[in-house]
Symmetry: C2
Subunit: 207 residues, 2 copies
């Protein structure tokens, strides 16, 4: 099998470092890039090379940002007593998109996975503890994936931080997602949806 | 909804120019890039920016290459009298991967789509005609997608080049692909598979 020219082989390898990108997808990207106006391609490459110069990490919440403290941490209109704990900055942005939360965030930088050697020291737990100690907090909202790792990380945080007086630890509700098909929902989700079922206003209450 | 820092917004837009990449996928890529070692990211960006400096187009077959004529066109071990016509360089590489062909190629640069304004002048048809006139050819193998546009482009080439003496024009066989489910195959494919059915050696012939 004929290999590509060296410059293309190299880029295929680079693109394959992106999540979900294999050699075939990389190849398709490169054909598209070869058809871009040359100037555009150069701008793209330069933006990419400079990304980490322009984007750093907020030293308070560990979100990616072009300033530190970041825009969210600086925003005095947001409730600093509520801290929403997320694994990754991408989770933070998904929550921001929903517009459901007006407090502050803390990005752990991952979930505990002792088997893969990811222990609390690899996450920003100590910085979180310091942040709570120095600035206070009334509620930690755990917004971690409902997976084994998410559960374990949540349990660890409850054990480590849950004894502080005046600090409530909550987690996002489990239940049926919008558009779900009950016939295909898993047992854990159904169990949780039953347990936390909501009262609907009935006709008598409405009168 | 909070926007991303400018540097990230810009890269999301750049990545969205790649086929099949929307803002969400671009976002995932960027989170991965932010976690790469800084040096690696810079190398990636520079390779990208320099791609078109390092890769050009072969003036004979119009394949992407770091030399012109390209490696395939220079290869005297390949049969120059057989020219396989493909729409895009990516098709050429798929055929090369299969190892099924040992002649030369010609990349049209697309398929005819009069509605979108893509006429023969936008493709490399004239260069193909000149190539055949100057160097001769015994067979043109049309390896174009079995779609409306592929058919129309093939018919156009037959009409334009089919009168040359000693030039045979063929096209890749139509039939059931490996692993196909006959119950779900379309009528055109089944029709073609019947029409061009192959004789199997029977017991008597084997004797």
């Amino acid at each position: 099998m004929r290999r590509f020219p060296e410059a293309i082989e190299q880029l295929i390898e680079e693109f394959s470092r992106l999540p979900g990108v294999g050699p075939k997808t990389a190849e398709r990207y490169i054909y598209a890039l070869l058809k871009l106006p040359k100037r555009d391609l150069e701008v793209f490459g330069k933006s990419l090379a400079a990304l980490q110069d322009r984007i750093g990490v907020c030293t308070t919440c560990f979100n990616f940002s072009d300033s530190s403290p970041c825009e969210i941490c600086r925003d005095s209109g947001r409730n600093a007593a509520q801290i929403c704990i997320v694994a990754e900055a991408s989770d933070l942005h998904a929550l921001e998109r929903s517009g459901a939360f007006t407090g502050k965030y803390h990005v752990l930088g991952g979930l505990l996975r002792p088997i893969a050697g990811i222990t609390p020291e690899h996450l920003t737990v100590e910085a979180l503890e310091r942040r709570i100690r120095e600035n206070g907090a009334e509620e930690l909202i755990l917004a971690l994936d409902p997976t084994m790792e998410g559960e374990a990380t949540g349990q660890y945080l409850v054990k480590r931080l849950g004894k502080r007086k005046g600090l409530r630890i909550t987690r996002l509700a489990r239940g049926l997602p919008m558009g779900a098909d009950i016939a295909y929902a898993d047992d854990m989700t159904l169990g949780s949806a039953f347990e936390h079922r909501e009262a609907l206003p009935n006709a008598r209450e409405k009168e």
